[in-house]
């Protein structure tokens, strides 16, 4: 069956419908990773987004139940050049199309993804709709205008607080849509974890007396999370705080910095980040549409993007606060910066 992706700017990309046959509206973004489509699809940070993969062959090695970053796919839609229907890998458990269908995700293949990528690159990220039918301009306009991702975090955070036992440091995790591999990374280091919903109050967090507060990754605009920012302001100075991605941005906002939206984001597995403290470059996995535009006072940049010079990490000059924009937990992508987790655990009052 044919289906179309229609962008906010009116451009139409026609392809073949895949997965679950149902209209999908979202923010259209691209990811340049050549492997790791399964991790991308299940990364909660992509909630509300229609993700297009720049690598043309997707689904070659199928999907399995081990490499998921959350229990279900979080993307709103998925766009590829060629979806593979005959995957082969020793761990392959399900085919791409079947996985999408069963999880009610609309997808498209046979799309000129390079063209789409260049449009997004030049015009910036924009909303789009995947539709199976001929629809009027007015309808599209209405649908796109009606789309908002401001409650994204509430849809992907844990509903209930839960704990994971461990003999090491006790980490209080604020879950804004945490990737499974972050939890695995703390687990590997023997940490005890208490995972809080995004709506948790500072009192609730302090009540478990953690050694460290960790702010997770997650979808959407950090400025939408006013309550969280307030909560963080209360925590600052009381507990060591570290964070990744959205967590990093929220921390910046809580400390009085500014965030802004990137034109087309950083999404892929090949982003060079310079660690200014070590004077060393790491190839990192990234997935963010927003960034810290202005560092809070009394913080210094610890990492910068070698591609566009944006802040990729910060440390407070006096307080036990340290956060990074990129994804040291990888999945997908290189694990070169995995030692960031060790550094997180070193942060103390």
């Amino acid at each position: 069956m044919k289906a179309k992706l229609i962008l906010e700017n009116g451009m139409v990309f026609e392809g073949r419908a895949l997965g679950y046959m149902q209209e999908a509206v979202g923010e259209v973004v691209f990811n340049t990773g050549m492997t790791g489509y399964q991790e991308v699809m299940t990364d909660p940070s992509y909630y509300g987004q229609i993700v297009t993969m720049t690598y043309p062959l997707i689904g070659n090695y199928g999907l399995n139940l081990e490499d998921i970053e959350s229990k279900s796919p979080k993307v709103k839609g998925f766009i590829v050049r060629e979806a593979c229907d005959y995957p082969n890998n020793f761990r392959c458990e399900i085919k791409l199309n079947d996985y999408l269908k069963n999880n009610k995700i609309m997808a498209l293949d046979q799309i000129d993804t390079r063209w789409l990528t260049k449009v997004l690159r030049d015009s910036g990220t924009m909303k789009g709709i995947i539709t199976l039918e001929e629809v009027s301009e007015g309808y599209i306009k209405e649908k796109l205008q009606g789309f908002s991702n401001s409650d994204a975090v509430l849809n992907v955070t844990t509903k209930e607080k839960y704990t994971i036992a461990g003999k090491g440091k006790h980490v209080a995790i604020m879950d804004f849509g945490i990737k499974a591999n972050i939890i695995r990374s703390f687990k590997q280091r023997g940490c005890k974890m208490t995972i809080f919903p995004a709506t948790a109050t500072y009192a609730e967090i302090l009540a478990v007396n953690p050694d460290l507060v960790f702010l997770s990754n997650g979808p959407g605009d950090p400025e939408d999370l006013k309550d969280t920012i307030e909560c963080l302001k209360q925590l600052v100075g009381k507990k060591p705080i570290v964070g990744i991605c959205l967590g990093h941005q929220l921390l910046a906002l809580a400390l009085g910095g500014k965030t802004a939206k990137l034109k087309f984001g950083h999404r892929g597995c090949n982003h060079p980040v310079k660690n200014l403290e070590e004077n060393k470059v790491y190839i990192t996995s990234q997935n963010h549409g927003y960034y810290v535009e202005e560092l809070p006072i009394d913080t210094i940049a610890t990492h910068i993007s070698l591609n566009d010079g944006t802040v990729e990490g910060m440390r407070h000059k006096t307080l036990p606060i340290y956060s990074v924009q990129f994804h040291p937990e990888a999945s997908p992508g290189p694990g070169d910066a995995n030692n960031i987790f060790d550094k997180f655990l070193e942060v103390q009052i």
């Binding site: 691209f30 340049t32 990773g33 050549m34 492997t35 790791g36 399964q38 991790e39 720049t54 690598y55 043309p56 062959l57 070659n60 090695y61 399995n64 081990e66 490499d67 050049r81 060629e82 593979c84 005959y86 995957p87 082969n88 890998n89 020793f90 761990r91 000129d112 993804t113 390079r114 063209w115 990528t117 260049k118 690159r121 087309f264 892929g268 597995c269 090949n270 982003h271 060079p272 310079k274 004077n279 060393k280 470059v281 190839i283 070698l306 591609n307 990888a330 999945s331 997908p332 992508g333 290189p334 694990g335 070169d336």
Partner: protein
């Protein structure tokens, strides 16, 4: 850290002559590295014995020494030039081994030369198997269970412990030379003996066979700060067991999940950190297809064939970045040349699929054992880029220039399913076609995977193609709807492929395509999958919606490259293509290159204004012409691959610059050519076409023996032979007519004269001959295989005058506009023409360098209408240089089991070296030394078997050898003859006689050299063949033409007594 200011003058060691396993890729990476050094203001001193390279150009480096790549000569260069640094990693295995040797011998220390880039200690850690295994153990990287073996007994014992099959890998050899898989003790004995002998240090590794595992390679880089990146990973479609140089390779990997991809990437980085690489490195893994288990196969701590492929596949210039790292820069200080904004410290992301397919020489060598294994046999490779695997794969198939546009292969159709299965299990160069045929006959894909170890994913991809082919076979033209045709084009089907399958002509498919508006678009190779704006003018075709090419309104010319490196069409043509582009650029014309060879300089994206990485078929070339609408197209520098497009393109009203197709035909069509010679009153050896043995014999009597015979339907020297007697001729003709009775055999009077060769430029009015060359071997040896001397040594002024006159007449008579190559024979003071090529030839770089005439530049200008008289190099014969230069061919026959060694009218060499001297002897000495042909004295014994025609002539040679202190061993006939003449000779038993016979002698390596002039006739031929093969496989020199040994003796006489390197000079061929 920024540029190390202490580095001012850098020595670069090239990789020497092209041989299998070390080809044009080192000219590409070497040239790129030299340019990178130069751009930092560093003086570059180069030593490389191979004149056919771009890197040995004045424009590329400052000081050029085209000298033998031996320690003694490199030391001379160091002593004379006093470089402060040595860049070790860009000259292939040759350059690396020499660098290690210079270091170990204390020469670098003596002259205070520091090694920049990866340090010697690290190179040794990567190259020495024992050291490497220790490092791997330390960092917990799994190696394949193995042991270093230095003798036969412990080899056998260890193999028994491991269990067969085992793999034997000699240390310090290139492309697995001397290694192999042994399935039992008997095989082990053979392989191990050879391996121990071939290794520079008498060391091999015997390892557990992981045959059937996936072979995955990573190209990684590291700077001295410890920043590491992975440029590209590549998956071999052929599993472990087939040398990666002989494997079909796809980039990036297709069947690895992120977890496996990252596992191996991380391992690569840990390895280069532990080894201490400063530059580029290739890491090869074997990955178990059904688990996470993997093992490190080996690393190459230098630029390599794989790094060249990775550079072309991603757009990331590995050699350039490696050179900058060597100069002190860190990865985050080096600009990304593609985006000009980002830095070299990132990992390319591909949004297309790249397929590399090797090019094997078996179309030329019918007798070769084609089975692929751990020893590389391919002479070159093609690369293809597509939006999907099928498209890249089909583009690759048609880039091979083997006349295939689909996977349908008639020979495979004749085989039974059992035979096909055997063929894919013991794979050869045609296994993909066998595999396709099995799919065609509904053989289960799963079982193909089981039999071959090729991943099901790839089998299915090939099945997709086969299914379409089968569908098309039942279709007619009117069933080709727009959707279907577009779909086929997206999948990479050629018009010709579609036409063949439905039974029409490609012309009709093309017309239909135009009517339906189905045209390719061109997408960019930009290193970043479109994430950033890129400025690389590097494109591939695809049938997507969106075209990224902007056609400028400048005047532009397309230069067609020569495709994969093969015997007879080598790196020389790439040299010419690159120079044509440079000439056009100087003329302010926009340049566009089309080529499909990833190993070359011409496909470096900053050589031309635009690079189209595409097959060189009629359709693919025309599509680009339709798009770019150039003023003209240049074919003369692309060898036969380009020349054969002339007629088709002219039919499409494309302006071919220079000689046109009709004129080309005059030179190539035998009848037209003879008519022209007649008209010009130029003689060629008398000849005639015969249809049966009797008439052949009759004609031969009239012409007189010896007779040159060849099949009429082939071009060049294929199947050509010289017969001296009626018996020999009968034998040849019988064979020829048995094979093919529909075509005549051509028989020519064979003139045993001196061969003379010229490359000339003609502007339609005047000609310029940059140099007249003389061949050392008498006529009958292919010009590419004979030793060539320039200036001529034995050609009289009268004959030279005649050469000029004939060249002039022929060039004007054919209507040449640009290049022409002519081969003459001087016989009894008369000049005969034997061959004319209306294009650049393989001697162009050699003559350009020695004469100082920029031949390609002038020819290009002439093609665009300029006149020779205005170009500053005059007309007629250019003045001869003071130096003498000798081109000596180099062979890779050793690596090709079953291939004839004997020199003849069919070309067999893969490369060449140049010897430069103040006189011919010095030049010859260096040429022989560089080619590894000098007489050695280990045992002091030379084995000679001489045919009856040559015995008389051999007498003098035998006497000379005696004087030089060699004792001779001969088979009965030769021995008897020499004894009668009073020489001391030891007789050895013939091959057909009881052991120990001649073969045992060779196998025990009791002789230093084999002189064998072949005899025709079934048994004699077979025996001679076996002797020559046995010798070559034991690394014993084989000489089959007496002229060669005579000259070798001359040179040895002169340099033997005072074999003092001090007396030999070295010559800077660059700027002073």
């Amino acid at each position: 850290m920024p540029l190390n200011k202490d580095i001012k003058k850098v020595l670069v060691i090239g990789s020497g002559p092209i041989v299998i396993g070390q080809a044009a890729e080192f000219d590409y990476s070497g040239t790129q590295a030299c340019e990178a050094l130069k751009e930092e203001g560093i003086e570059v001193v180069l030593i490389n014995s191979n004149p056919a390279t771009i890197m040995t150009d004045k424009e590329v480096v400052h000081k050029i020494y085209i000298e033998p790549l031996t320690i003694a000569f490199i030391e001379k260069v160091i002593a004379k030039e006093r470089p402060d640094s040595l860049l070790a990693g860009v000259g292939g295995q040759t350059g690396l081994n020499l660098s290690v040797e210079l270091y170990e011998m204390g020469i670098l220390e003596k002259y205070n030369v520091q090694v920049i880039g990866t340090p010697i200690e690290s190179i040794k850690k990567g190259e020495d198997r024992e050291l490497f295994r220790d490092v791997m153990k330390k960092i917990n990287q799994p190696c394949i269970e193995s042991e270093v073996i230095v003798d036969m007994e412990s080899g056998k014992a260890y193999s028994n412990k491991l269990g067969y099959p085992v793999i034997v890998r000699p240390a310090y050899t290139l492309a697995g030379t001397g290694g192999g898989i042994a399935n039992n003790e008997e095989e082990l004995e053979l392989i191990l003996e050879q391996g121990l002998h071939m290794s520079a240090i008498g060391q091999v590794l015997i390892e557990r066979s992981v045959k059937g595992w996936k072979e995955v390679e990573y190209e990684v880089m590291r700077d001295k700060q410890g920043n590491c990146i992975c440029v590209c990973n590549m998956e071999n479609i052929d599993p472990v067991g087939i040398h990666t140089g002989d494997s079909i390779v796809v980039a990036p990997s297709q069947t690895l999940s992120d977890k496996e991809y990252q596992m191996l990437r991380t391992a690569s980085i840990e390895i280069i950190n532990a080894v201490g690489i400063k530059g580029g490195c290739n890491v090869q893994f074997a990955l178990h297809p059904h688990s996470y288990e993997y093992a490190v196969i080996e690393i190459n701590p230098r630029v390599s064939r794989s790094s060249a492929l990775a550079s072309k596949a991603t757009g990331y210039p590995i050699a350039k970045v490696a050179a900058k790292i060597a100069l002190g820069y860190d990865l985050d200080e080096i600009k990304n040349e593609v985006t000009k904004k980002t830095f070299a410290c990132f990992e390319p992301s591909l949004d297309y699929v790249v397929v590399k397919i090797p090019k094997w020489p078996f179309d030329k060598f019918h007798s070769a054992d084609r089975q692929l294994g751990t020893k590389m046999m391919a002479t070159g490779e093609v690369m293809a880029i597509g939006s999907n695997f099928e498209a890249a794969f089909l583009k690759g198939i048609r880039s091979l220039d083997i006349g295939r546009y689909t996977l349908v292969h008639k020979d495979m159709m004749k085989l039974s399913l059992e035979e096909l299965k055997e063929k894919v299990k013991a794979p050869d160069d045609e296994r993909i076609f066998a595999l396709a045929e099995m799919i065609r006959r509904d053989y289960r894909s799963e079982m193909i995977t089981k039999a071959t170890g090729i991943d099901r994913f790839f089998v299915k991809k090939i099945k997709n193609i086969v299914e379409r082919e089968e569908m098309l076979k039942s279709y007619t033209l009117d069933m080709l709807t727009r959707d279907l045709l577009l779909d086929l084009k997206k999948m990479g089907f050629a018009d010709k492929g579609i036409a063949d399958l439905i039974g029409t002509s490609p012309e009709i498919i093309y017309t239909l395509r135009m009517k339906l508006g189905i045209k390719p678009v061109y997408n960019m190779v930009d290193t970043c999958a479109g994430e950033f704006e890129a400025l690389t003018p590097y494109y591939y075709s695809t049938y997507n919606a969106y075209d990224e090419v902007t056609v400028s309104n400048r005047s532009k010319v397309i230069v067609i490259g020569s495709g994969p490196i093969r015997i007879g069409q080598g790196i020389e043509f790439d040299y010419a293509s690159v120079h044509a582009v440079k000439a056009l650029k100087r003329m302010n014309i926009e340049t566009i290159i089309i080529n499909n060879n990833p190993e070359t300089v011409s496909t470096d994206f900053d050589i031309s204004d635009k690079l189209y990485f595409e097959p060189l078929t009629e359709e693919d070339v025309l599509n680009i012409i339709d798009k770019e609408k150039p003023e003209g197209i240049i074919l003369q520098f692309g060898g036969q691959t380009a020349i054969k497009l002339a007629k088709f393109l002219e039919g499409k009203n494309v302006a071919i610059l220079g000689t046109n197709s009709e004129q080309i035909d005059t030179a190539e069509n035998r009848e037209k050519f003879e008519a022209l010679l007649e008209e010009l009153n130029i003689e060629r050896p008398k000849g005639i076409a015969v249809w049966n043995v009797d008439s052949g014999l009759k004609e031969a009597e009239i012409l007189g023996y010896p007779i040159l015979v060849r099949p009429s339907y082939v071009l060049g020297g294929q199947g050509m032979e010289i017969t001296y007697t009626a018996d020999e001729l009968t034998y040849y003709l019988k064979n020829a007519f048995e094979k093919d009775s529909k075509n005549p055999v051509l028989i020519d009077k064979y003139l045993m004269g001196r061969e003379i060769e010229v490359d000339a430029i003609c502007d339609g009015e005047e000609i310029l001959i940059p140099g007249i060359m003389e061949h050392l071997e008498r006529a009958g040896v292919h010009s590419g295989d004979s030793i060539t001397m320039y200036p001529t040594q034995n050609v009289s002024a009268e004959i030279k005058e005649k050469v000029l006159e004939y060249t002039r007449k022929l060039a004007l008579g054919i209507g040449i506009q640009g290049m022409i190559n002519i081969q003459f024979i001087e016989y009894c003071e008369k000049l005969y023409v034997i061959e004319v090529n209306p294009r650049a030839s393989r001697t162009v770089p050699y003559i350009s360098k020695v004469s100082g005439v920029p031949i390609v530049d002038i020819a290009t200008r002439v093609m665009l209408g300029e006149k020779l008289v205005n170009l500053g190099y005059g007309i007629n014969v250019y003045k001869e240089p003071e130096l003498v230069a000798v081109k000596v061919p180099v062979f890779s026959t050793q690596k090709l089991p079953g291939v004839e060694v004997c020199l003849g009218p069919e070309m067999r060499s893969t490369g060449e070296v140049l010897g430069v001297g103040a006189d011919i002897n010095e030049a010859l000495y260096k040429g022989f030394l560089g080619a590894g042909m000098l007489l050695k004295k280990r045992k002091g014994v030379i084995l000679a078997t001489i045919n009856d025609n040559d015995k008389e002539e051999f007498l003098g040679i035998a006497k000379d050898l005696e004087v030089l202190g060699y004792s001779l061993m001969c088979t009965s006939g030769t021995a008897k003859f020499l004894k009668q003449a009073g020489l001391k000779v030891e007789s050895v038993r013939k091959l057909s006689e009881e052991e120990p016979n001649i073969l045992n002698l060779i196998k025990k390596m009791e002789v230093d050299l084999v002189i064998n002039t072949p005899t025709k006739g079934k048994d004699a031929e077979r025996e001679g063949f076996m002797i020559r093969r046995a010798a070559i496989e034991k690394n014993i020199g084989v000489i089959t033409v007496l002229d060669t040994i005579k000259t070798l003796i001359e040179v040895t006489k002169r340099y033997n007594s005072d074999f003092d390197i001090e007396n030999l000079k070295i010559y800077n061929m660059g700027k002073n």
